[in-house]
Symmetry: C2
Subunit: 319 residues, 2 copies
DNA sequence: GCTGGCCCTGTTATCGGTAACAAGCAAAAA
DNA sequence: TTTTTGCTTGTTACCGATAACAGGGCCAGC
């Protein structure tokens, strides 16, 4: 039975006190360089790893960050895997672990050092204000809370400009029918790019479902001449748009282009495959973790807003 | 500054020793009933919640379960959100938290009380055997390891029988081109049901991608008469099959039926929407958590195999 | 009436760290 | 030379729980 090495063991091997070893780990600047070397050597030889429970107890922390989804989970399903793993990877570096919560569960219940929260709406602000622990939101918001999100505006600008560059003359925006900051930003990205290029924007909104998007297209397709590109607020919508175009045997990408937003899975199973603004969910997760960890460390100091650049994933639905 | 209540506080309020309070929590059968009442009352009044770090330290545990994905993450992306949240919900009841790991990372690194592992292949068995902590696999395996999985066999049997009941005369299986237990089970489910009904099975295998499935169909569609139902090994394949049928302007579900497997997201964005064998991922997650917790508790005692019943989600791709 | 055992509760030591304070010692200041 | 200062390291107490052992009360059996 091999016990894992403790501070004590390292201390003995290095002929110093436990405290010195602890300092080498947490405040190396307080330790003489030559001792540092000796101690680090001993740690390595004993394959020392700090006991997280002991540290947490002594520092009165929990080593736990809670990840909370406030919206209906079904909706965003595939999103989260990458965010979660990106976060977890970053958290583990500091020996933190995760607890996952859904809307229903009492957030306050059980302690944590910090929260990462997604799907917040304005009605959730009171709850946020009541939170004692530091938190970071995933998702743009106008409430002044620290957040991380995809650069929705820049992403949609990029999409719009790409469509233009590929030679489409008419650019139509089909966004989501929700009053959320991310949607406004995507619209703004499209509108800005259009104005920049002296074109008249056309903004439409539908429910975020393939069926709704398809229905919209069935109704309006006749209004759109050849050489139109549909800039869509999500891949779901883009999928519906493509289905409608295929149904009518339109030429994609020749006469009609389609660009989606998200790049999670749908873009790859569609036929033709969708050109889309791909979010870097992993990076978003990493960033969320870094911010909440830093915020915890800085005793709740504000961390500001952080936009993660998406990339344009070019596929078969555009020239 | 309100400190959270500790055992000590509860003990004082209840006029007993810390130890008695601890016993009420962990071994109530050792405490006189009338004292239990008093202590529980005190706990409630002080809103006492045990300090997990302290407990973990004293019991020489970590309160952490690691969730490991050994395969390429892109592949199964949308799967995991529900499993993870199902697990987390169950784990939190015992104050456990999660760490998430991918293939690349050293599993051994950093301690945990147990593991839940997914995506294992035969080459991973040596690594599993070397693991000192208890673990449960997600996914059928023939290595004798404890696991939880969807009842793939039963699910595909159900799908096949449903197609028959709906009046399709020809049932064709299009499975995944992988040598994995789950795939063999789905095939077996189809084959069994066919034999049961005195029909000759037709098993085909393609790469698990819409494109591959579509290509397969383009090549073979002429071989299949009207009134054929395609029993597919995944929704991805079903999506490709549907695309090919739509392309050829076949009548779905009139002349051709399609049934998928998974029910994660693709079934709902396809047009027509896919009838599919829907896995209960949340339940799988819960079960994984329960088993690993019990296994930890029982010092690694084997927990056996656990199959979670899927449901048939009926949609537009079948009569 | 005395002893042994059962049932219940308290005491003590310990888990593996960290903060706060004490102390040693050399260089700098008086 | 003596005092002060600063840098470095060690000592002590404590974080909040649990395990193992100790002890007191009560009843049964001799």
């Amino acid at each position: 039975m091999t016990r894992t090495a403790t501070l004590e063991d390292v201390a003995q091997k290095a002929h110093v006190s436990k405290m010195t070893v602890s300092r080498v780990i947490n405040h190396p600047e307080l330790v003489a360089p030559e001792l540092q070397v000796v101690v680090e050597d001993a740690m390595r030889k004993l394959n020392y790893h700090p006991n997280n429970a002991a540290r947490a107890l002594a520092k009165n922390q929990t080593s736990v960050v809670k990840f909370v989804i406030l919206e209906d989970i079904d909706h965003m399903d595939p999103y989260y895997t990458n965010i979660l793993f990106g976060m977890a990877t970053e958290l583990k570096k500091k020996n933190y672990s995760l607890q996952l919560l859904l809307k229903g569960s009492q957030i306050e219940q059980g302690p944590a050092d910090g929260f990462v929260i997604t799907g917040t709406r304005v009605d959730d602000y009171p709850m946020l204000n009541a939170l004692k622990e530091p938190f970071i939101l995933f998702g743009e918001n106008r409430g002044g809370y620290d957040f991380v999100d995809t650069d929705n505006l820049g992403g949609e600008t990029m999409a719009t400009e790409y469509a233009l560059k590929q030679g489409y003359r008419n650019l139509v925006f089909i966004g989501l029918d929700v009053k959320e900051a991310f949607e406004f930003s995507r619209e703004a990205g499209y509108v800005n790019a259009m104005q920049q290029n002296k074109k008249i924007p056309s903004v439409n909104r539908v429910k975020n479902s393939t069926t709704a998007a398809r229905a919209f297209m069935q109704e309006h397709l006749s209004e759109y001449p050849k050489n139109t590109c549909f800039i869509c607020g999500s891949d779901r919508i883009a999928t519906g748009v493509i289905q409608a175009l295929v149904e009518e045997e339109k030429d994609i990408p020749g006469d009609y282009g389609v660009i989606g937003f998200d790049g999670i899975l749908l873009d790859k199973v569609s036929s033709p495959k969708i050109t889309t603004v791909k979010q870097d969910l992993w990076k978003i997760g990493e960033t969320l973790a870094q911010l909440i960890l830093r915020k915890i460390n800085q005793n709740g100091a504000p961390q500001g807003e952080m936009f993660i650049k998406p990339t344009l994933s070019k596929a078969e639905s555009t020239k």
